[in-house]
Amino acid sequence: MFWKIARQHLLLEWRDPAALPVSIILAVLLVSISFSGVGRILEQRKAEERFEKEWRQVIQHTQAIDRAIEDRIAAGIEEEQLPPPFGARHPGYPYAWCKPAIIKPAAALSWLAEGKSDIYASGYAAPHFEPVEQIDNPLRLVNGNLDVAFVLVYLLPLCILILSFDLTGSDCETGLLRLTLAQPVRFSTLLSARLGASALPVLGAMFVAAAAIVPGIHRIRDDSDIGARLLMAAAATILYALFWWFAAAAVNSMRRSAPVNATILGSFWLLFVIFIPVTLHAAATFIYPVPPRAELIDAERSAPQRVAKLDQISLSRDFIAHHPEYGYASLDSVPGLGRVYAGSAAREEAEDRIIERETGRFREALRRQEGFIDGFSAFSPAILLNAVLTDLSGTGWRGEEAFQEQKERYVQRTIFFFRSREFRFPNGVFTSQEYDLIPFFEFQDEPVAGVIQRNRRALLWLTLIGGFMGVTFRYLSTRRFPDQIYA
C-alpha cells in the first residue's frame, strides 16, 4: 500500500505546477553557485601564485646582487666591508624586504561555505607583514555570500515546505481524507508514503547537483581529505533536511487545512532560520561586547612610544635571557654591534606584546561570543548546519584562528632566522647561499579527523532534533483525531 500511495502522490506531483520547477530551480542554483565558487577559487589561486612569485623574484634579485658582490670579492675587485653597508649582504636588508609573503590560500571548499573568508586578510607581506586587506564591495558583503551553504540553510527548507505543506491538508478540507481512510490504510502509512514521494524531487535535485559538482571539485583538489569533508557535509545536510521533512509531516499529522499548515511551517522557518540566530547574535554581542576598534588602532600606533619610555638596557637583557635559542648567555656575550640589534629586537618584541595584548582582548571577546553561540546552537538546526559547513570549509573563525597560529609560528621562525644573523655583527655578513635558507610559509590544512571530531556534537544535535521531530510526527500520525472515528 505504501508504494501504491507513494507512486500515486508522485504522479500528482508530476502534474503539480510547483514541484518540478522547484526541484529544477534548486538543482540549477546548487550547480551554478558551486561552479561559480570553483571559478572564484581558481582565480584566487592564480592571484596567489602571482603574488608569491613577485616576492620570490624580490628575493632572487637581492640574492643576485649579493652573488655579484661575492664574485667581485673573489676576483679581488673589491674587499668585504665589515660590518656590511645596509644592502644585500646586511641581514637587516633581507629581513625588511625579502621576507616571503604569507598567503592564506583559498580554501578548496570555500565554494561550499565562504564564511568570513571575504572579510579576513588574504595575506601578509613585507616589510612588516602588513595585512593584504580584502577589497570587496561593502554592499556585497552586507548581502552575504551566494554559496551552497546559503541555498542549503535558507532555501532548502523552503523547498521542502513548499512541496510538503499540503500532504493531507487539501484532502482534509474536501473530505477526501475521510474517504481515503475508509479504505484499509492507516493515516500514518498514507502520510509517510506521501512524505517519501514529496521528498523525492528535492532529493533528486540534490543528487543531480552533487553528481554535476563532484567533477568540478577535482579541478581544485582531489584527495581523501576533501572526500571525507564532503561526506560529512552531505550527512549534515541530510539530517537538516530530515528535520524539515519530519516537521512538515508532524504539522500535516494535525490534519489542518493546507493554509494553516503553511502558516505553521512558515512560522517554524522564521523561528529556526531567522529569529533564533538573530536573537543569539544580539545576545552574544550584548553579553560579550568587543572593545571599540579605536582602542586597537591606538594601541598599534602608540606601541613604539610606550616601549621607548622603558629602560632599554634591561629590555635587551630580558630579551637575551628569554631567548636562549640565540645562543647567548647574557647581553654582555653578544658581540659589540650585535647588541644594538638585540636592543632593536627587544623593542620590536615589546611592541608586539603590547599589540598582542590588545588584539587578545578582541579575540577573547570573539571566542566568548562563539562559545555562547555554540552553547545555544542546538536550538536552531540552521545554526548547526551553517556552523558545520563553514567549519568543514575552513572559512570560519576557527579556520582563521588556525591560520593565525601557523602565521605566528612562521613569523617567529623568520625573525629568529634574520635576527640571529644580525647578532653576529660586526663580523657576520648575509651570504648569497643564505638566501636559499630563508624560510617560506606553507599553510597546512587541519587534518580532517580533527574537524570531524569537533563537529560530532553538531551532528549529534542535528540527529537528536531530527529524531525528536520524527517521534513527534510518529506520535501525531498514530493519534486518534476526532474525525478519525468516521474512518
Binding site: A18, S122, N137, L139, L146, P259, L271, H281, I297
Partner: protein
C-alpha cells in the same frame, strides 16, 4: 465607485483579519522580530555614538598634548577620524559593519577601510544581523503573503464571490475595499516602526533626519503597495488558494532572499573587482615605478641647489628633507589615490548595476534607498572618506612644509646631508592643525545618488497599481 460600500468592505476585511488566528500569530512574530531588531539597532547605535564621541575627544586631546617631537613621527602616528553615526542607524545600519566608522589617517599614504567591525564579529553576523529596515523589506512581505493569498481565491473557491457580486457590489469596489484593508495594515506597521524610531531617537532629531525618515517611510509604503498589488493579482489569477500561496512564496523567496546576493554577484561579474592580492601586487608594481629614496634625495638636492643658486646644502634657506618629504608624499598620492579612487568607482558602478536589477526585484530598490537615506551606504562612506583624505593631505602637507621652512635648519649642528630630521614641533604647531569636522550631505544628495532605485521603486509602485486594476478586471471576469 460608492465609497460607503468600499469602507464597509474594508471594515469587514479588517474584522475578518483580526479574527484570523494566523494573522495574530504572524503579527506576534513580526512584533518579536521588530522588537529584537530595534533593541539591537538602538544598542549598537548608542554604543557606537558614545564610543566615537569619546574617542574623538580623546584623539584631539592626544594630538594637542603629544609634546615636543618630530612632525614626521606625529604624522606617522596619524589621526583617527570618525564617520558620524546618524540616528537613522537604528533603522538601517547599512554597510557600516563592513566599512567601519573609525578611520586612521596615516602620514604615509591614503588607506582603504581601516577598521572593519565585521572582522571581530561572531559567525552569526550574516545570519543574525537584523535591522528594522530588513524586517520591513523581507518579513512584512511574508506577512502580506499569508494575508493576501486567500483574499480572492478563497472567496472564489467557496463561491462567496458570486454571492458578493450578486449584492450589486462591483469588482472595483470589492477590490478597493480589500486593498484599503491591506494598505491600512501596512501603513499601521510602517507608522509603528517610524513612531518607535522617533521615540528612540527623539533627542537627536533634526529637520534633515525628520525628512529622511519621512522619505524612508514613503519608500516602504510604495514598496509594500507594490507587493499588495502583485499579491492581489496572483490571488485573482490563481485557480486555488494553495496555488496562490505557492506562487507567492516562491516569488517572495526569489525577490527577498535570493535576489540581493544574486544581484551582488551579477554586479561583480559585470564590473569585476580584482582579487585583493592582485590589487596589492598592482600597488607594489606602481611603487616600483616611482623614484627610490636615493633618487628622490639626489633630485631634490640638485633642484634646490639650482633654484637657490648655492653650492652647499648648508646655504639653502630651506631644509631639503622637507622638500623630499613633500615630493615623496606627492609620489605616494600618485600611487594610491588613483587606485583607491578606481576601486571606489568600481563599487559605484557595481551599485548602479545592482540598482538597475531592482527593476526586476523591488527589494533591491528599497534596500539601496533606505541605506542611502540612513547615510549608511557606500556612497556616504565614500563622501566621508574623500573628506578625510582631503584633511589628511592638508595636515601632512602642513607638517612637511613646517619641516621645509624650519629656521633651525640653518643653525643645526647636524650635518645637512644626512636623512635625519632635526625639526621638532610643539603644542603651538599641533594646535594650528584644526580638528577634523565633517558635514554629512543632505537628504537631496542621498536621494539623487539613488535615482535609479527611486525610478525602479516608482515603476514598482505603478506596477502595483496596474496589477490591482488587472485584478479587478480579472475578478469581474470571474
Amino acid at each position: 465607485m460608492r465609497w460607503g460600500i468600499v469602507v464597509h468592505i474594508t471594515r469587514n476585511e479588517l474584522i475578518r483579519l483580526s479574527r484570523d488566528r494566523r494573522l495574530l500569530c504572524a503579527a506576534f512574530a513580526l512584533l518579536l522580530l521588530l522588537s529584537v531588531s530595534f533593541a539591537g539597532g538602538t544598542g549598537t547605535y548608542r554604543r557606537m555614538a558614545a564610543e566615537n564621541s569619546r574617542a574623538q575627544a580623546a584623539e584631539r586631546e592626544r594630538w594637542l598634548n603629544q609634546g615636543t617631537r618630530s612632525p614626521i613621527n606625529a604624522g606617522d602616528q596619524g589621526i583617527v577620524v570618525f564617520q558620524p553615526v546618524s540616528p537613522l542607524f537604528i533603522l538601517d545600519s547599512g554597510v557600516t559593519s563592513y566599512t567601519g566608522s573609525a578611520n586612521l589617517l596615516e602620514g604615509d599614504h591614503e588607506n582603504l577601510f581601516g577598521a572593519k567591525p565585521a572582522e571581530y564579529a561572531n559567525s552569526l553576523l550574516r545570519m543574525g544581523q537584523l535591522t528594522p529596515a530588513r524586517t520591513l523589506q523581507v518579513f512584512v512581505p511574508l506577512l502580506l503573503i499569508f494575508l493576501l493569498y486567500s483574499v480572492i481565491s478563497e472567496e472564489r473557491d467557496t463561491s462567496l464571490l458570486r454571492q458578493i457580486f450578486a449584492c450589486s457590489i462591483s469588482p472595483g469596489e470589492y477590490a478597493a475595499g480589500k486593498i484599503l484593508a491591506a494598505d491600512g495594515l501596512v501603513a499601521l506597521i510602517v507608522a509603528g516602526v517610524m513612531v518607535s524610531f522617533l521615540l528612540l531617537a527623539r533627542r537627536e532629531l533634526s529637520a534633515d533626519i525628520g525628512m529622511r525618515a519621512m522619505l524612508i517611510a514613503l519608500g516602504y509604503l510604495a514598496y509594500l503597495t507594490a507587493f499588495i498589488g502583485t499579491g492581489l493579482y496572483v490571488s485573482a489569477r490563481c485557480t486555488t488558494g494553495r496555488q496562490a500561496l505557492l506562487v507567492m512564496l516562491c516569488g517572495w523567496a526569489g525577490v527577498c532572499l535570493l535576489a540581493p546576493p544574486l544581484a551582488s554577484r551579477l554586479a561583480q561579474a559585470a564590473r569585476p573587482l580584482p582579487p585583493s592580492l592582485s590589487w596589492a601586487s598592482e600597488i607594489t608594481a606602481a611603487q616600483r615605478q616611482v623614484m627610490t629614496v636615493e633618487e628622490r634625495r639626489a633630485a631634490v638636492r640638485k633642484q634646490l641647489l639650482e633654484q637657490y643658486k648655492v653650492s652647499s646644502l648648508r646655504d639653502l634657506p630651506v631644509d631639503p628633507i622637507g622638500a623630499e618629504l613633500l615630493l615623496e608624499n606627492a609620489d605616494e598620492a600618485r600611487v594610491y589615490h588613483p587606485r583607491i579612487t578606481g576601486l571606489r568607482d568600481i563599487y559605484e558602478s557595481q551599485n548602479r548595476f545592482y540598482e538597475g536589477i531592482s527593476f526586476a526585484a523591488p527589494l533591491l530598490a528599497i534596500q539601496a534607498l533606505s541605506m542611502g537615506l540612513a547615510g549608511a551606504d557606500t556612497a556616504a562612506h565614500r563622501h566621508f572618506a574623500d573628506a578625510a583624505e582631503e584633511y589628511r593631505t592638508g595636515f601632512v602637507y602642513f607638517l612637511n612644509d613646517y619641516i621645509l621652512h624650519d629656521p633651525k635648519y640653518k643653525t643645526s649642528s647636524t650635518f645637512p646631508g644626512t636623512d635625519l630630521v632635526i625639526t621638532t614641533a610643539g603644542p603651538e604647531v599641533w594646535a594650528r592643525i584644526p580638528p577634523f569636522t565633517y558635514r554629512q550631505p543632505d537628504y537631496v544628495w542621498a536621494v539623487l545618488n539613488h535615482r535609479i532605485a527611486l525610478c525602479a521603486l516608482s515603476v514598482w509602485f505603478a506596477a502595483g497599481l496596474v496589477t490591482t486594476a488587472l485584478s479587478i478586471r480579472r475578478i469581474g471576469l470571474t
